[in-house]
C-alpha cells in the first residue's frame, strides 16, 4: 500500500514536471522550425513541420535561406544585431572597468566620506529606470546645447563649419546611461567580492614594489575574474534585452538595437504578408541570449541566488 502511493506520487511528480517542460520548450521550438517555413506553408498549418524537415531538398532549404536573408538584409536585422553588439560590448567593458575600480577602493581603503559614497551607490539599487528616464531626456538636450555653445565658436574658428553636439539619438548617449544605471548592482556585487579576497595579496604585491595601479590591474583584476564574470553575464542579459531607454533615446532606424528593431517590425503591418521573415527575426534576436545562457547557466543561476540571498 505504502509502495503504491509512493509510486503514484512519483508518477504524478514526473507528469507535472514534464508537462511544464513541454509548455516551456514547445513555443520556442515552434518559433525555431517555423522560421524555416514560407508564409503559405505557415498559413496551411501553423503547427506543421517545415518542408525543410519533412522533405529535405534544395527547394525547402531555399525557403529557410530566404527567410533569414529577408530578415538579415531586407529588414535590417544585420544592422540591429551589430548595433546591439557595439552598444552592449562597449557598455560592458566600461561597466566592468569603472565598477571594479570603485568597488576595489570601497572594499579595501579607509577614507573620509567612504560610507556616504557607498550608500549613494547602493541607493541606486532602489531607483526604477522610469524615474530617471524623463529628466535624462531633458538633461541630454541641456548637455548638448551647452557643449555646442562651448565648442561651436572654436570649431568655426578652426574652419570645421557649424558644429552641433547632441547626445540624443546617438549610441554614445545610450551607452552613458547604460553604464551609469548598471553601476549600483556592479559595485554592490564586486565590493563584497573584493572584501572576501585575502588582504595580504595587496600587501605582498606592494612589498614587491608594484604601485597601487599595478597591484590593481595585474593582481586584483585577474583574481577578481569569477566576480567579474558573474557581473558581466547579468549586465549582458539586462542590456541585450533593454527596450525602454532605447525607445526614448534612439530614433534613427540605422541606430536601433535588436529589441527596438524587432519591436518596430512587429508593429508595422507589412510583416503580415511575410511571417517567415518575422519568425526568422525572432530567432535572430533570441539566439544570442540563449547561447550565452547555455554556456554560462551554472554561473548565472549561482549569481541569482547569491544576489537574492544576500540582498
Amino acid at each position: 500500500m505504502q509502495n503504491l502511493t509512493t509510486r503514484t506520487f512519483a508518477s504524478i511528480k514526473y507528469l507535472l514536471l514534464s508537462a511544464y517542460l513541454v509548455a516551456v520548450i514547445f513555443p520556442m521550438v515552434w518559433v525555431l522550425y517555423t522560421s524555416a517555413k514560407s508564409t503559405q506553408e505557415i498559413y496551411k498549418n501553423p503547427l506543421g513541420l517545415p518542408a525543410f524537415i519533412t522533405s529535405p531538398g534544395s527547394k525547402s532549404f531555399g525557403t529557410l535561406i530566404q527567410n533569414y536573408r529577408a530578415a538579415w538584409y531586407g529588414s535590417h536585422f544585420s544592422s540591429y544585431f551589430f548595433n546591439s553588439v557595439k552598444v552592449v560590448s562597449i557598455s560592458l567593458a566600461l561597466i566592468l572597468l569603472l565598477g571594479s575600480m570603485a568597488a576595489y577602493v570601497l572594499a579595501r581603503f579607509e577614507f573620509k566620506g567612504k560610507g556616504l559614497i557607498y550608500v549613494l551607490f547602493m541607493s541606486g539599487l532602489l531607483i526604477p529606470m522610469q524615474l530617471i528616464l524623463i529628466p535624462l531626456f531633458f538633461q541630454f538636450s541641456a548637455i548638448g546645447e551647452s557643449l555646442t555653445a562651448l565648442l561651436a565658436p572654436s570649431a568655426r574658428a578652426l574652419g570645421l563649419g557649424e558644429l552641433t553636439i547632441s547626445l540624443h539619438d546617438t549610441h554614445f548617449g545610450l551607452i552613458l546611461i547604460y553604464v551609469a544605471a548598471s553601476l549600483p548592482f556592479t559595485v554592490f556585487v564586486l565590493t563584497s567580492f573584493f572584501k572576501s579576497l585575502p588582504g595580504e595579496l595587496r600587501e605582498a604585491a606592494m612589498l614587491d614594489g608594484a604601485g597601487e595601479y599595478r597591484t590593481f590591474f595585474s593582481v586584483m583584476m585577474p583574481i577578481g575574474k569569477p566576480g567579474l564574470v558573474t557581473v558581466a553575464i547579468f549586465n549582458f542579459l539586462g542590456l541585450w534585452n533593454e527596450y525602454l531607454f532605447g525607445l526614448v533615446f534612439l530614433n534613427s532606424d540605422r541606430l536601433k538595437t535588436l529589441p527596438l528593431g524587432l519591436a518596430s517590425i512587429s508593429m508595422q503591418a507589412q510583416y503580415k504578408s511575410d511571417f517567415g521573415l518575422l519568425f526568422a527575426g525572432l530567432v535572430i534576436s533570441m539566439a544570442p541570449s540563449l547561447i550565452v545562457y547555455l554556456f554560462l547557466q551554472e554561473k548565472l543561476t549561482k549569481g541569482i541566488t547569491v544576489g537574492a540571498l544576500k540582498g
Binding site: L133, A180, K272, L309
Partner: protein, 293 residues
C-alpha cells in the same frame, strides 16, 4: 608622500565611476522630484504647482486609476500562479528527481529572452490570423472555427497572464530551490522521526526556513508588476488606451505624446515610492521572522 599617493589613487579610481553615476542617475533622480511638482510642457518655463499632480491621481478615473489597477492585476493574478508553480516545482526537484538539471535549465529559459521577443512570440501564439497556434488548436480540437482576437484591448490583460507565468516561473523556481538546498537535511530527518508527512515537512520545515527568500520573491514580483511596460507597449502597437494602460505606458504617453512633463514625472515618482514601500515592508517582515528562530 605615501599618504598623498594613496589619496591620488583613491580619487582617480573612485572619481570617474562616481561622477558618471552622479551625473546620469543621482542628478536625474533629484530632478524627477522637482519636475513632479510642476506643470510643464517642456518648452516654456515650468510653473510650480506643489502637490497638485499627485492630487489629480485620486480623481483621474479615465487614466491613472485604471492604470494602477492594471499594475495590481498584472502583479497579483500571475503572481499567485507563479508562486504556486515555482514552489511546487522547486519542492519536487528538491526531493531528488531524475533529470533535475534538465528541468532547472529548461524552466529558466524564457526568463532570459527579451521582453520584446516574448511579447512578439505570444502575439503570434494568440494571433487571430492563420498563424495563431491557439486558434488553430481551437478549430482542430474544439471545432470552433471563428478565430478569437485574444490580444484585443478588452481581453489583453487576461491574455498577458499566461505569458507572464511562462516567463517568470523558472526564475522563482531557481531562487526558491537554492533556498531549499540551504536547509540542513538533519531538520528533515528529525521531523520524519516525529512522523511528519511530506505535506507537513513542506509547511513546517521548508516554508519557515526559506521565509526570507520567499519575501524577497514577493518583492521582486511586486516591483516587476509595478514597472510593467514592454509587452503592453508591443501588443498595443505603441498606443495603449484606458483599458490597457499601466503606470509606465501612461507616463510615456503623458510626457512624449501629450507634453505633460510634470504630470508624467509625478507618475514615475509615485512608482518609485511604491517600490520603496514594497521593499521596506518586506525588510520588516524578514526581520520579524528572522528573530523567531
Amino acid at each position: 608622500m605615501k599618504q598623498r599617493n594613496q589619496t591620488m589613487f583613491i580619487l582617480s579610481f573612485l572619481g570617474p565611476p562616481f561622477l558618471i553615476y552622479a551625473l546620469f542617475v543621482l542628478v536625474p533622480t533629484v530632478n524627477a522630484f522637482r519636475y513632479s511638482l510642476t506643470k510643464w510642457d517642456g518648452l516654456s518655463a515650468p510653473a510650480f504647482v506643489g502637490l497638485h499632480n499627485f492630487a489629480t491621481f485620486v480623481s483621474s478615473r479615465s487614466d491613472f486609476i485604471p492604470a494602477i489597477k492594471h499594475n495590481l492585476f498584472l502583479t497579483f493574478v500571475p503572481g499567485v500562479f507563479i508562486l504556486t508553480l515555482a514552489l511546487t516545482f522547486a519542492n519536487l526537484i528538491h526531493h531528488k528527481v531524475k533529470g533535475a538539471r534538465l528541468f532547472r535549465v529548461a524552466f529558466f529559459f524564457p526568463n532570459i529572452i527579451s521582453a520584446v521577443a516574448v511579447a512578439l512570440l505570444w502575439l503570434l501564439i494568440y494571433s487571430p490570423t492563420k498563424v495563431g497556434m491557439l486558434n488553430h488548436f481551437r478549430s482542430a480540437f474544439l471545432h470552433q472555427n471563428q478565430p478569437v482576437a485574444f490580444t484585443q484591448s478588452s481581453t489583453l490583460l487576461w491574455a498577458l497572464v499566461p505569458m507572464i507565468v511562462w516567463t517568470a516561473t523558472g526564475f522563482y523556481m531557481v531562487l526558491f530551490l537554492a533556498a531549499m538546498e540551504n536547509i540542513p537535511e538533519s531538520y528533515y530527518e528529525a521531523a520524519r522521526l516525529d512522523g511528519a508527512s511530506p505535506w507537513n515537512l513542506f509547511w513546517s520545515v521548508t516554508i519557515p526556513l526559506m521565509w526570507e527568500v520567499l519575501t524577497t520573491g514577493v518583492v521582486f514580483l511586486v516591483i516587476g508588476g509595478l514597472k510593467f511596460f514592454d509587452a503592453i507597449w508591443i501588443m498595443e502597437n505603441g498606443r495603449p488606451k484606458t483599458p490597457t494602460h499601466t503606470l509606465s505606458t501612461l507616463m510615456y504617453q503623458k510626457v512624449f505624446e501629450q507634453y505633460e512633463i510634470g504630470q508624467g514625472t509625478s507618475i514615475a515618482v509615485l512608482l518609485f515610492i511604491l517600490v520603496l514601500i514594497a521593499t521596506l515592508i518586506s525588510q520588516r517582515l524578514m526581520r520579524r521572522e528572522a528573530l523567531e528562530y
